[in-house]
């Protein structure tokens, strides 16, 4: 279990703890800071940048060829029940951590002016949220995982409910109740496993299941699989559990949307990968046929609904449902390409959809509406903005050499290997996504300016450019040199797939 015996430097055991809890420490300090809004913003930016810089330690010192968890730290936390403070990352979760720390400073920048009431509380919530999100990806103790998982709920619900627009309270409560109720099924499954194995340690439980040492496992496995799956499916969200997402997105403040689409949804797909596949490979295979069908429905349904949305933010929200469908499709194809692609789509979607929400938010700050018909011809009044927007749209629709392409391509090739019809149906999703995004782009930016207010809209200022440029740059690098990411993801995926190769040579749904 102790993979870090190999000479990593002395930072390694505590680096994950540092990265996870620096935002929380910053939030606690913020409580003490006087209510001078500017100081609070600067302080939050510094804290989130510090977390980001520290998190870069992870990919830099990561042993790419090595299988298993790295930067592990395993300490007893509570003696009864046997709960450990066990953290560690593999090639998949490491990138999700970096994605989180990367997006948070951008969220701080993008909220600089748009949040002007209860500023202190906003940034406290944002930083607490960051800690909880990172915690979800690094926890290797099921209890610790559940702990962070639930801890993401409150700050996000408050961000939506306190700083959102329109029916914000409805959206916040819906978000909270949906995910809370779903995660109770996961809690039941976790408690069951603990009752039988006597530990929450992920690796120990995994080994016990593989060695067939868990009493009554055969009878309960399907229920346990479903318990975890429901919690993750609601979070993803997989059709038909998606109805909370458009509400939450439309009403959320920009930073909330960025973290929600960029990171929070990935908790679900990450959970499927880590727990549904990691703990219950046989059940995952047995259930793959309907999961993949739901994923395909999500891809196509999400895209079709996005096509007809009059509201820009809702359009992006539905496009998330469609994109996350790709991730689920890739995961349940049980192929190397499919899982590599799924992980890559998670990262790419985090960057490009995060950027899309930031762009939508910038427009909202100027016009206080997301309705597409309110715009038109913006390319002439806001040329820089239009250029950024086009770049991100192209990344999102999967233009080669940008980040969207690599992941979707890999997922589709995985799906083809699983069953050709899945690949074909999935591929239509790519076409749809080009349709709804480019059509939206055309309606917003081209043509004549119909509303006089749009003529005098100011273009991006320096802060907004600083917030958008890193996302655009990363989208480009991910598209040009995906191997930088994939060579860490690949071994982790290989390890995740190991039990499936033993199961049978047949691939899916037979």
């Amino acid at each position: 279990m102790n993979m870090h015996a190999i000479n990593l430097d002395e930072w390694s055991p505590i680096i994950l703890t540092l990265v996870t809890f620096i935002p929380l420490a910053g939030a606690l300090l913020l409580i003490l800071l006087p209510r001078r809004d500017r100081d609070i913003r600067v302080f939050s930016l510094v804290v989130s940048l510090l977390a980001f810089v520290l998190s870069l330690h992870l990919p830099v010192h990561f042993h790419r060829a090595q299988i298993g968890f790295q930067y592990e730290l395993d300490r007893a936390w509570i003696p009864t029940p046997n709960i450990h403070y066990h953290m560690g990352v593999d090639g998949i979760s490491m990138w999700l951590v970096v994605l989180t720390t990367f997006l948070t400073p951008l969220c701080v920048l993008i909220s600089w002016k748009s949040i002007h009431e209860r500023v202190k509380e906003f940034f406290i919530l944002l930083l607490v949220m960051e800690t909880a999100l990172i915690g979800v990806f690094v926890a290797l103790d099921l209890f610790l995982f559940y702990f962070f998982w639930e801890a993401t709920l409150i700050p996000m619900a408050l961000l939506i409910g306190m700083y959102g627009h329109g029916r914000k309270v409805y959206a916040a409560v819906k978000f909270f109740m949906y995910t809370m109720i779903a995660s109770i099924f996961m809690l039941a499954a976790i408690l069951w496993l603990y009752a039988k194995v006597g530990t929450f340690d992920f690796v120990t439980i995994q080994n016990a299941i593989r060695a067939g040492q868990v009493a009554n496992f055969a009878g309960a496995a399907q229920w346990l699989f479903l318990g975890f799956f429901i919690a993750f499916a609601v979070k993803v969200p997989l059709f038909p559990f998606h109805t909370w997402l458009p509400d939450a997105h439309v009403e959320a403040p920009t930073a909330g949307s960025v973290l929600l689409a960029g990171v929070l949804l990935k908790m679900g797909t990450y959970g499927m990968l880590r727990f549904n596949l990691g703990l219950f490979p046989e059940q995952a295979r047995a259930n793959a046929w309907w999961v993949m069908i739901l994923a395909l429905i999500g891809i196509i349904y999400g895209a079709l609904v996005a096509l007809v949305q009059p509201n820009m933010k809702k359009l992006i929200a539905y496009s998330s449902i469609s994109h996350l469908g790709f991730v689920v499709l890739g995961i349940f194809s049980f192929t190397q390409a499919g899982l590599d692609g799924a992980t890559f789509v998670m990262l790419a979607h985090g960057i490009s959809t995060g950027a899309l929400f930031m762009l939508a938010g910038i427009l909202y700050e100027r016009r206080h509406t997301y309705e597409i018909v309110e715009f038109g011809g913006l390319a002439s009044s806001m040329p820089v903005y239009a250029a950024f927007f086009l770049f991100v749209v192209l990344a999102s629709v999967g233009l080669p050499l940008l980040n969207g392409f690599v992941g979707e391509f890999l997922v589709l090739s995985g799906a083809f290997q699983a069953r050709a019809v899945y690949g074909i149906l999935g591929a239509t999703g790519v076409i749809w996504s080009a349709g709804y995004l480019l059509w939206m782009y055309q309606r917003v930016f081209f043509g004549k300016i119909r509303h006089p207010v749009n003529e005098i809209l100011p273009d991006l200022d320096l802060r907004e450019r600083v917030a958008l440029s890193p996302a655009a740059a990363v989208a480009l690098v991910m598209g040009v040199a995906p191997l930088l990411w994939l060579n860490a993801i690949d071994p982790a995926v290989h390890a995740a797939l190991a039990p499936f190769e033993q199961l049978a040579s047949k691939v899916v749904g037979q």
């Binding site: 003696p79 209860r118 801890a151 409910g161 914000k168 916040a172 909270f176 109770i184």
Partner: protein
């Protein structure tokens, strides 16, 4: 007369130490009653409140001192062990917080406070005694001491009709319930020939268990179930909680409940009660469901918290349906964290209610997050703990209870409980939503939190968070008392 015979007639000195907290509380209570007519009416609230606080803190100290003198006393009627110490600490700590809360409340409501503090201390005597009594008749007397004090306390808003209604209702139904308990004790005596729990336990281990014993347990459970507001004996709760003064509700929803749960643990586990599984199963499932469903539609915060306390009693009862090794520590931990969060929640409610308890509707809490950030944040912590969100005591409390239930293969009851806690999240969240996401219609400033209340809130917040982050020590302590209880 030999020395040994003398010892049987007169208790030894150390035996008095085994009732020291009760003695301390009684002395302070009597002192308050005596001083009440003597001190100036305008300052009595301050001076007697301080005296009561001193008494309660002294009782905490006495409990800690007493814990070094474990053993039986008074002819096998009281027993000091880690189990009784645990509940003594919960009861006395709650008493401290309640006195701190009442201090400001009484002034705002303009209630003369002398007997009030006396009654709280006398109530605490009964509750402390309940947790160390190991003889059913003494348990009954302790139960009565505690109940009679709370009956009177419930009616302390003399000028308000619903407060008198609450008091009368509580008194009538409560006496009825105590009658059931006494009847159960009598039947138990008939079945086993003793009222000592240790003797009963031996008698009940030998089969066949007499039918009378089953009836005795069932009747005792009716009486005790009433006191902890477990369904189907919960009907009095919302009305009484609505009418009684808010700090008193904080008191009677935590301290007496903790004490009665201590008695239940003794009766169910130490006395090895027969047939407890189904009794508890039904009561737990009913309490959780009726409590949560009832709370969903309550506009009044006090009523909402009343239904919530019914539901919380249901979760706690789940721990009684499992094996003692897991069930006892889980129940003890739940009692402690429930006491911390509920007394804290009522402290906020009683402060915010204002003169005449005008602001007790959920809608009144609108905008509290902006109007009084600290008060809102504290209440949020207690509410999140009542939901069972990680980082709070309420989370681990539920967690221990339900993992114990799963270890005993009570899958059905666990699922009922978990689904219920999801329902529960909705109504607790309603208050949080109100505080942070709605704008208030009433812009009257919220009274600043006095130093006394601040300390009280600080204690309960710290306890709630401590139990949620480092639950290990408390749970380990509770686990140790399993051995004390089961010999």
């Amino acid at each position: 007369m030999s020395a040994a015979e003398m010892a049987q007639v007169l208790p030894l000195a150390v035996e008095y130490i085994r009732i020291l907290p009760e003695v301390v509380l009684s002395l302070f209570g009597m002192a308050i009653m005596v001083l009440d007519p003597l001190v100036d009416e305008r300052t009595s609230q301050k001076s007697l409140g301080l005296l009561a606080l001193t008494g309660a803190v002294a009782a905490v100290a006495a409990t800690l001192y007493q814990s070094q003198y474990a053993g039986v006393g008074f002819w096998g009627m009281v027993k000091v062990d880690s189990f009784s110490t645990f509940f003594h600490l919960v009861v006395t700590a709650v008493t401290v917080v309640v006195i701190l809360t009442s201090y400001e409340y009484m002034e705002v409501q303009q209630i003369r406070a002398g007997e009030y503090y006396g009654l709280i201390l006398f109530g605490a005597v009964g509750m402390c005694l309940m947790s160390s009594a190991v003889e059913l008749v003494l348990i009954f007397i302790a139960l009565e001491i505690s109940s009679i004090s709370t009956y009177v306390l419930a009616g302390f808003r003399r000028r308000v009709a619903i407060s008198s209604e609450a008091s009368l209702k509580y008194f009538l139904l409560g006496s009825f319930a105590t009658g059931f308990f006494l009847y159960g004790v009598a039947l138990m005596f008939g079945a086993t020939g003793s009222t000592s729990i240790a003797v009963i336990a031996v008698a009940l281990r030998s089969s066949p268990i007499p039918l009378l014993a089953y009836a005795g347990i069932a009747l005792m459970f009716v009486g005790l179930g009433f006191k902890v507001a477990a369904a189907p004996f919960h009907v009095w709760t919302p009305d009484v909680y609505e009418g009684a003064p808010a700090p008193v509700v904080g008191f009677m929803s935590t301290a007496p409940k903790a004490a009665v749960f201590a008695v239940l643990l003794r009766v169910m586990f130490e006395a090895n009660a027969p047939g407890r599984l189904w009794l508890i199963w039904v009561a737990a499932a009913l309490s959780m469901t009726l409590g949560n469903v009832g709370a969903l539609v309550q506009p009044n915060v006090k009523r909402l918290l009343a239904y919530s306390s019914i539901a919380q009693a249901g979760y706690l009862l789940v721990a009684f349906a499992v094996l003692p090794g897991n069930g006892i520590p889980a129940a003890m931990f739940y009692t402690a964290s429930y006491a911390a969060m509920n007394v804290g929640a009522f402290a906020v409610v009683s402060h915010f209610a204002g003169a005449g308890e005008r602001r007790v509707i959920v809608d009144d809490y609108a905008g509290l997050g902006r109007r009084s950030p600290l008060l809102a944040a504290t209440l949020t912590i207690f509410l999140l703990s009542l939901i069972g969100i990680p980082m709070t005591g309420g989370f681990f409390a539920k967690f221990y209870v339900f993992s114990a239930a799963l270890q005993a293969d009570l899958v059905g009851l666990t699922i009922i409980g978990l689904l219920n806690s999801a329902v529960g999240a909705y109504y607790y969240l309603r208050i949080v939503v109100m505080m942070y996401m709605r704008e208030s219609r009433d812009e009257a400033p919220v009274a600043p939190v006095s130093a006394w209340l601040g300390v009280g809130l600080g204690i309960s917040t710290a306890a709630t968070l401590y139990l949620g982050i480092l639950p290990g020590r408390v749970l380990a302590y509770a686990s140790r008392s399993v051995a004390d209880l089961l010999h």
